[in-house]
Symmetry: D2
Subunit: 370 residues, 4 copies
């Protein structure tokens, strides 16, 4: 299926940018998962435009409505899953459909418009990118935010920072010592980088892009701390296969690497290999973590580290080259409307959400020995 994530739980994301509502249906969710609505709202707010992030001005009040799958918690501030499929929706409100009328004949460069038209035979919903819209990451954050709370209860945290925007780089996570506490602190700081100056530079760059009707891409680094060793499987059951499949479900992602990744591929084995050590508290660890917490597709107990490349937002207001379907000839295009010059800051919680979904799904795998 196209819009499903997960093997043990199955998250189906539905909706179009301008449909009546967007949302997710989650089957297979264990009963008894309690989540705080205020905390979920704060998590969703990180994805919303505005707030601390310099982003598109379009306002979204992404308050999810839970149609089923939950019962009220004890104090009225939480909900508890009841084991039936959970469906949560967000109504689409502030959408100016007229902004997008032009693209029915002229596909936007590097958008899904053309490919979708061929695939869906012209029946697709083109308004606002339809089901291809970045807005569809909101439902991922609903279920991801719920599972993030459950993972924290189990001592597991998925956290992110912006590794780079354009050519501006943040300092990387310490792949050995990053832990749930540090990730929580970073999230609460409201700053999406480890280095405060990098964030100031990034904001300036994004603001410049907005002014020049351009956009810019970036890289998000994610660390998942607190995972026990032994999760995952070889081959397509690997943590890498499952995480990458989920991460590429996010619009604009064009690359993923684990541990030392592409850089490690230019090294010698003697440089890149992670020797084992018995730690002071009697655990089997490695001194460095070039393997990114995954060996043979299975968690090693070291933090899982991966980086995701986001292309620059294709929606830019600059004049661009395209074609007209009706005339079948070249023509230029100027896209009107509000555009987000850089999706990377808003994509941090989305990466955390798909990580939380995938990790929770891994935890539900049946035991690999009797």
């Amino acid at each position: 299926m196209s819009s499903e994530l997960g093997k043990n739980i199955r998250v189906t994301v539905f909706g179009q940018s301008h449909s009546r509502a967007i949302g997710c249906t989650v089957d297979g969710l264990p009963a008894g998962i309690e989540f705080d609505l205020e905390e979920l709202g704060a998590f969703l707010q990180r994805r919303a435009p505005g707030g601390t992030m310099p982003s598109t001005k379009r306002t979204e009040a992404d308050i999810p409505e839970f149609l089923c799958g939950v019962l009220p918690g004890k104090d009225g501030k939480t909900l508890v899953t009841c084991g039936a499929p959970l469906t949560a929706i967000i109504y689409n409100k502030d959408a100016r459909s007229s902004d997008y009328s032009q693209i029915s004949d002229v596909p936007r460069p590097s958008h899904a418009d053309f490919a979708a038209r061929v695939a869906y035979g012209g029946f697709e919903d083109i308004r606002g990118g339809g089901h291809f819209s970045g807005r569809l990451t909101a439902p991922l954050c609903i279920i991801g935010g719920i599972l993030k709370q459950e993972l924290r209860r189990r001592g597991i945290a998925a956290g992110t920072h912006i590794r780079s925007i354009g050519k501006i780089e943040d300092i990387p996570f310490d792949p050995v010592n990053i832990n749930a506490e540090a990730l929580g602190k970073l999230e609460r700081s409201g700053r999406p980088t480890l280095d405060p100056e990098a964030w100031e530079d990034m904001k300036t760059l994004i603001e410049n892009c907005r002014r020049e009707l351009d956009s810019v891409g970036g890289v998000i680094e994610c660390a998942i701390a607190g995972l026990e060793p032994g999760l995952g499987s070889p081959m397509t059951g690997s943590v890498e296969s499952r995480l990458s499949s989920a991460v590429f479900a996010i619009p604009a992602v064009k690359g993923i690497e684990f541990g030392s990744g592409f850089a490690g591929s230019s090294r010698l084995g003697s440089e890149n290999n992670d020797g084992f050590r018995v730690s002071s508290d009697g655990m089997i660890v490695t001194e460095k973590n070039d393997h990114g917490g995954i060996l043979g597709g299975i968690t090693s107990g070291m933090p899982v580290i991966f980086r995701t490349a986001f292309k620059p937002t294709p929606s830019i207001a600059k004049k661009q080259e395209s074609i007209s379907y009706s005339e079948m000839k070249n023509r230029t295009l100027e896209i009107k409307g509000r555009h987000d010059p850089c999706v990377v800051p808003r994509a941090l919680p989305v990466i955390e959400a798909v990580s939380a979904i995938t990790v929770f799904d891994l935890l539900l795998d049946h035991k690999k020995h009797i």
Copy 2:
């Protein structure tokens, strides 16, 4: 499932490095696919050690035996699928189990040994890496090689070259003009690079690594030419999700990027966007191909381009740091036996194989409009 690829066809890879046999079972394969056994043998030979590639000396006669799922073709040189599940096996012969006795107590750095032991509770087959062995890519090449022949009949080619080994780089594919003919010519040349000198330098580097009991990683670039636009789907049905899930099933892969990938993430939208053009023969194309042939998860009709990062082979004969399970303390390890200082040259057909499997699987998706 762990060892399955594909959605419409389902390839299950089975076997351990030292089990009686390895192989694959393929369910859902359409009847009537005819394949040439000699051509399949030549394809498998590219993955085998020796030949043109400087690799481990262990000899494998990887001649598959087809147990079912096929009937003889007209002239005795081909087999034709009959629609029943296909199972092909390769018997394991030349395996010196004694080489691996040590690792039952001392896990090899950056190998799956430790993670597998936790996951499988000590019941796992540790001989030669068990089910985690690179040898398990041979069955992928059987079905991949069969489907490659079928794809060629449909004008589709998946071809590869070594983009880099260590810090030695080949020139990249021309992402716009690469086509099935050029890819076929490259494959028949027997040289795994576009630049002959790069290959000479790479061979020297690999030979040096062998001599110094070390290893080295690299990057493989793959181009899939001849794809119609409209294949794939948004989200986890995306070409990226499906290809990445399959590619990370290959041991030693730690990264994947499509089109301009990580490099593109540092660019402006105005640089990275691919404007559309009407070509001289009336097709909708783009002048460059930073999107790597995939927009919104769906093929655009431009060549699909992706690069895969392979870590240096973790099996090196140099003295390394590890631990002893029985003593639960640090100790050093010297791995004996033959080791491949660089898997990258042998991995080219494996990348082509999983590409062929994934592309054929995409072609079998049900039509996305009535």
Copy 3:
């Protein structure tokens, strides 16, 4: 997953009897399927209580709201799928939760209460049977009703009649000559039997059951006419495996048989075998249809015929034996509230709906030969 149907399209049914809403999310649906809302409403009405069927008095206004996955059709009376996942919901309105308070301590005989409590650890929604309620068949009828319209456009009809209620029997379908036209006529007649007198007798029986605070079961016979030969596959891909898996998703179903079914199992091969004939219009047919239109799991081109056994509704108002969890001892139970003495008449469209879903799913299977 638990609440999913289909392989090529995936229908997830969500909701509980007393949750805010119930509904379905359908992924993989081709774009361009147009359906008439009035006709869909009429189909859903057949499942609703009241109308021609003697059933529970609780009124449901099951008007689905389409949240996404559709665009308006040309004349405002139809909707057209756009290829994005479709989600349709029905808000729960007229539910008297107080009716069900007792069962939290005393499980209702032959209901899911006890099994669900063990499975979901007490976190389950017990109001009105929660996710186990027969009300969850309404979302099946939404997507089933949509696909029934699409199948009719392709000359395929799934129709049903009540084969028996209690010991009152209707005459069976003619398994050879039943066709789409006859099935359409039967549906439009508003009578759920072939024999008008049988229906009168059944209604009397149901009314008697209601009066005596009891319930009664029955058998529904379904015919699927207009199917081409060659659909389905051997083993679990068989039409029988796929239909039975879907049919047992309906609450109260306890048996299914195809063609001559259980009766055929007491026959000789020479009686039960269906010889082939060339028909007057040059088709390969059989003179009788004891195989129920399925040979080797694959359609033969003859009508698919199957019968489904529904147990008597377990909700009866008579005094029954049960236990108290809190006291862990035997006690009697009198269930209050409105109960449907026989679900069979309302289950006809549900059987048609899961048939339509399964048949449409079969039609989307990839071609089994090149």
Copy 4:
């Protein structure tokens, strides 16, 4: 997929009646399952022709060869799963292909020949029924026999008897008191009925059918004892959906019913409902078991009881009506070769095998509450 069973473990059955080998590949099997080869052989022998069962004379030495997925057990008499996919094969030996030459032009009545020809476009293997042959139930018995041993270790037994052949009936299982001990005793008795006289009568009937070149069908009743309550899920995750999907993978099965099944559908709720009781040892039970151990798709803790209808073997030597493809006209057919006049006695272990596979798969479901 067509030839796969299971959700948490995935059993793919491969092979054709006359291919080089048949077998199964099982992915997802936990490591550490130890099984006795002699006991497995005895189980497979129950399916083999000859022995205590009056059946076709064709001799099969169905000794499976384990290609991978296992390591030797301690004493050389057992094998232990190692967590890698298990593949076991049986080579096809005693097959007279010439027996089947005729059917390439004249399809056998009530066989898969015609449907398969349409589905596979003439590329299918017609020798001996190809992948549709009852011989393909042998691989099901390999993995089913392995899991049966593992289930016994956990106190769970799946046992069968012939409920009827033709019109001769055995006494039914006591659905309340049947237990693992009684089922084991019945299996060891070597007699496939509870009533010895019924078996004598059945053997006579089968012998008569053989003499008259005819065949006969029957019903198998299966009991699964020792299951904890709470296994399974509502809707398609139900025990009924999963068991029925697996059971209809067996050739010749045309019906299945659980508990009181079709008979129960003619009863009143007050007759059919199973009131709960606290047993003398403090368990929640029911006094009778018309629900067949499944409520709301979930096990109740009572024995799971189901009956499966087998049609008479379509292979009979009597002259029958068919058609010729090449001439497209009616003609008669006399099938030569050895035929099994009744598959029911040999099908008992097959029903037990798919039950064991399905139950083991259910046990691997992730926990439905935290």
